[in-house]
């Protein structure tokens, strides 16, 4: 053979492509023509350019008259042969029970994850589908850019834009204005119920499709002080009696029930217990406060509009742009711009502050889909590996088919059909698994059940079937190509001639990939879990153990406090305006020297707070005076605050007596605390101050509990609460549980990845097991001969294991550093404080997986090594 440099050839794939598409009658001379031109170009323009021109020419000849006609007869043959394919597939499935089991279970396990992801995506895409005008519904969203502030994208907008829309904006059919945040105690006769509601204006039912059971949708929300309640709320408030026309009193105002609405469907971004006519908001707030209608009052109002059929949102946007420009003239240092967001992008779209309902960014779905694909690929690898490995057994069948007259495409079709069939079989199992997985998914976090229903729909079932077909094709592709390439003559002459170990490199690579992924998953789970535990047990700088926080509902709690203090198990009591270290922050602008002001986080507490939480005073004392609200003179600060304002060279002792200006108040530093965590692990420790407050009606009571019988103690506390507040249920949570809840997102993630790790390991183990069984089976004779020649059993086991162990070693070498970097450089960068990534967690999971693999390999190889060589060798 000549060297290619002396005799350049056109690119082979291009020629193959030409042969594939070109009509046989035209092919030969066309190929010749192109070759002749190619030689000419090599001579004139050089080999590289000639190859390029050849390639271009091949594509240029892709024209209707050169295209091969679809050979109907081939299709017909496929169709007629389906029965035969099914029969042989079934036989081969039954003959190799172990391999069929591995394939089907592996595919089923992986596909169940796929089914879950499909259901999730399907749910998110079905959000707000029940609205009749969903395709022409838009929400007005706001971009708020203050001078010197980072811009904010808000789902909410101003009432002003609603007023402007009334002035006949072209291209708008209807619009409705809603406002969130109504919360009050509904008095009906002698009973009181807490009720949260949404203000909505009169066209609410025109824009949205929320059917009314009673009342007139056109007028229900027209008059001030009208109230529309849902069926559930109606039952809660009025029991069996007819709610329509009844009066409900909030504080001093009477509202009349003008309608009863059906409960909003689960997949609606907007949920409400009751609607109050917007005219009431206008009467109670708008008339008193100009801020209500201000252009930059964009925090709790939402505007939805519909455009007429065939209308274009671009026209409306142009009108909105004009309104933006006009209105922005009236505000200083601020730009507020509104734009339209399609209804279908609310649940599944970009991240907006002040959003109502769930919100998922598409990238999250891509990540989920990617993870599912990884798992499915892993199972497909098993199928590919085992099928190619076992090709020896089926090559004769392929040989006979080919001799009888099967085309390559027929064989290809047969094996693809077989794998799709297996995938469908797996789908049945996978559906059962999916039902279990769905339960587990809902159990991950109570919020999940509020966002998703994961109910089956026609569309999701269709996607399920498509997934099975896709998985089948993916799994069957490589084996099918492999079988279709088999040379009939050589197979029939000598089946051993087929080089089954030829594709060993591919198979090894697939095993390494599988194990790498499994190890990454399990190491991620282990490291993630230890980090999560680390967050919960982190030394916050104060005590949280046995502290019960009770949320107050707006009433001065002195009576309650005295009653609770009488319970013997309650050791101490304190009050605070908030609970620290769980994510909420509250700050005030503070000055030490004139001109240098900074945001300082704060908590208003009484004199018992610091002792109960065991905050460490470095210098000074607890609060000494008990002033009324707004008249306090003392403040207790942390070290960071001294550092921030550089007070007294950061010396706690010398800082005492220095004066801070908070708002307009002058406060003397009476104590300096050791630094503690005010925020979560994501926040750095920043300046914090404690101010005195003897009464926090919307804050918390902090109870230090020392009890042997917690249930009884909790009952006593609940009794005391019931005597104090008959309307609201008791909301008491232990501090440690609140911290756990603050990191619940992390716990959900760890659980989900853990589940994936478990599935990935199952699949990889199944695949490895199959390969080990196959290898030992095919090498049985070799083992016997070695044994006869005097090899020891451990030596044989080592010989058989060696290859697999090397693969696992390689997988571990890739996976563990990858996981380390994933955490170190990506996941943990969000957290300012975290545990170091421990070697035990990183290696622990990996060792477990390795152990599992070694046991599998060991047991099989030992079985082979122990076999009686005489029997094995005699059988032939």
């Amino acid at each position: 053979m000549k060297k290619p440099s002396q005799n350049p050839q056109p690119p082979q794939w291009a020629t193959r492509f030409l042969r594939w598409y070109c009509r046989p009658r035209l092919l030969e001379d066309l190929e010749g023509d192109l070759y002749e031109y190619f030689l000419r170009n090599v001579r004139d323009k050089g080999a590289r350019r000639a190859r390029f021109i050849y390639m271009i020419d091949v594509f240029k000849f892709l024209r209707p008259y050169t295209l091969r006609k679809i050979e109907f007869i081939t299709f017909l043959t496929h169709f007629m042969m389906i029965g035969s394919y099914l029969k042989t597939s079934r036989r081969s499935l039954v003959r190799n029970k172990l391999f069929s089991f591995i394939n089907i279970i592996g595919l089923a396990v992986s596909m169940s994850v796929g089914l879950l992801v499909i259901s999730i995506v399907n749910d998110l895409r079905s959000y707000d589908d029940f609205h009749e005008k969903k395709d022409r519904m838009y929400r007005v969203i706001t971009r708020h850019e203050g001078a010197g502030q980072s811009p904010m994208n808000l789902a909410s907008t101003s009432v002003r834009i609603g007023q402007r829309l009334k002035e006949n904006v072209p291209g708008v059919e209807d619009f409705t204005l809603i406002r969130t945040g109504f919360s009050g105690d509904a008095q009906i006769g002698k009973n009181t119920f807490p009720l949260e509601a949404v203000w909505a204006d009169r066209s609410f039912f025109k824009v949205f499709t929320f059917p009314l059971v009673a009342g007139d949708p056109r007028t229900a929300l027209k008059e001030p002080f009208s109230l529309v309640i849902t069926e559930k709320t109606a039952e809660r408030l009025f029991g069996k009696s007819n709610p329509l026309g009844q009066t409900v009193r909030f504080d001093t105002l009477d509202y009349q029930v003008t309608g009863v609405a059906k409960e909003a469907p689960a997949l609606s971004h907007l949920h409400f217990d009751a609607l109050i006519s917007f005219a009431s908001a206008d009467a109670t707030m708008g008339k008193k406060d100009n801020w209500f209608y201000a252009w930059n009052s964009v925090w709790s109002n939402y505007v939805y509009l519909t455009i007429p059929k065939g209308g274009s949102p671009a026209n409306v946007q142009r009108a909105l742009d004009r309104i933006n420009a006009e209105e922005n003239k009236g505000v200083e240092h601020l730009k507020v711009n509104v734009s339209l967001q399609p209804m279908k992008e609310i649940a599944l779209g970009k991240d907006l502050s002040n959003n109502i309902g769930p919100e998922t960014e598409p990238v999250t779905l891509w990540i989920l889909g990617g993870l599912a694909l990884v798992i499915i690929l892993s199972a497909c690898f098993n199928y590919t590996n085992l099928s190619v490995a076992r090709s020896l057994r089926r090559s004769r069948e392929v040989g006979v088919r080919k001799i009888i007259g099967a085309h390559r495409s027929h064989v290809l079709g047969q094996f693809m059909a077989e794998s799709v069939m297996i995938a469908f079989l797996a789908l049945l199992f996978s559906f059962g698994l999916y039902l279990w997985l769905r339960k587990e998914f809902f159990a991950l976090d109570p919020h999940i059940a509020k966002i998703f229903t994961l109910e089956l729909s026609f569309r999701s079932v269709l996607y399920f079937i498509a997934l099975a077909a896709f998985t089948g094709l993916l799994a069957g592709f490589l084996p099918a190509v492999f079988f279709s390439k088999i040379n009939a003559m050589s197979v029939m002459k000598d089946a051993g001639g087929l080089k089954i170990f030829r594709h060993i490199g591919l198979r090894k690579a697939l095993i390494v990939v599988q194990y790498t992924l499994s190890l990454i998953f399990i190491a991620t789970t282990a490291v993630g879990y230890s980090q999560y535990k680390g967050f919960l047990n982190f030394d916050l700088g104060f005590n949280t153990e046995n502290i019960l926080n009770i949320k107050l509902r707006g009433a001065d709690a002195t009576v309650l406090r005295d009653e609770l203090a009488a319970i013997p198990e309650v050791k101490q009591l304190s009050r605070s305006s908030m609970v620290t270290s769980v994510g909420s922050m509250f700050g005030d602008h503070t000055k030490y020297l004139p001109g240098d002001s900074a945001l300082v986080w704060m908590n208003a507490v009484d004199e018992h707070y610091l002792p109960i939480h065991q905050h460490q005073l470095l210098a000074g004392t607890n609060f000494t005076t008990r002033p009324e609200k707004g008249k306090e003179t003392e403040v207790i600060v942390n070290q960071q605050l001294l550092k921030r304002f550089n007070i007294a060279d950061r010396d706690p002792r010398k800082a005492l007596g220095k004066i801070l200006t908070v708002g307009k108040q002058k406060l003397t530093i009476v104590g300096v605390l050791k630094d503690f965590h005010y925020g979560t692990m994501e926040n750095k420790i920043e300046p914090v101050m404690f101010r005195y407050s003897g009464s926090e009606p919307w804050g918390y009571l902090n109870l230090q509990i020392a009890s042997n019988d917690l249930t009884a103690t909790m009952e006593k506390i609940a009794d005391a609460w019931k005597r104090f507040d008959k309307v609201h249920p008791l909301k008491a949570t232990f501090y440690d549980d609140q911290i756990e809840e603050a990191y619940s997102q992390f716990s959900v993630m760890v659980k989900a990845i853990g589940l994936l790790a478990f599935l990935a390991i199952c699949i990889a183990s199944l695949g490895l097991f199959g390969m080990v069984v196959f290898t030992t089976e095919t090498k049985l004779k070799e083992i016997s001969i070695r044994k006869v020649l005097g090899a020891s059993e451990p030596g044989l086991v080592y010989l058989l294991c060696r290859g697999f162990l090397t693969l696992l070693g390689i997988a571990a070498l890739i996976a563990l550093p990858a996981t380390y970097f994933l955490f170190d450089k990506l996941l943990l960068t969000r957290f300012v404080y975290h545990q170091p990534i421990g070697l035990p967690e990183l290696l622990g999971g990996a060792l477990l997986v390795m152990l599992l693999a070694v046991v599998m390999i060991g047991s099989q190889t030992a079985k082979a090594a122990r076999s009686n060589p005489a029997k094995v060798l005699k059988s032939e």
């Binding site: 035209l26 030969e28 001379d29 066309l30 190929e31 010749g32 023509d33 192109l34 070759y35 002749e36 031109y37 030689l39 020419d57 240029k60 000849f61 024209r63 008259y65």
Partner: protein, 111 residues
């Protein structure tokens, strides 16, 4: 009379086939056309026209012998069919009859 009608480029190709005699295969036709017209004739275009001529029945083709210069592929030789010859003649006559009706000075005048 679509189908038997002869386009300008088709006519050129057909004439070239006739001119080349027994050596008329695609690459040679391209080269010859280039020589006559001075413009480059792309194989893709010529190939399509040859195929169309054959479909219309104006040209016939058959595969020749294999040769090493073409990677062992045979050439497809074209010759003008009877219908092709008729079409060529008719086209020539049509042109000549129009030419005959043009008074000499008319062309000269525009120069």
């Amino acid at each position: 009379m679509k189908g038997t009608n002869l386009g300008e480029f088709e006519e050129l190709v057909l004439l070239t086939i006739a001119a080349l005699g027994r050596e008329a295969y695609s690459v040679a036709i391209c080269d010859e056309l280039e020589r006559y017209t001075g413009r480059s004739a792309k194989l893709g275009v010529v190939h399509a026209v040859l195929n169309r001529l054959e479909e219309k029945g104006l040209a016939k083709s058959q595969l020749g012998d294999a040769s090493a210069t073409r990677g062992g592929k045979r050439k497809r030789y074209y010759e003008v069919s009877h219908a092709g010859k008729v079409a060529l003649t008719r086209a020539k006559e049509l042109r000549e009859s129009i030419w005959r009706n043009i008074p000499g000075f008319n062309l000269e005048g525009s120069l």
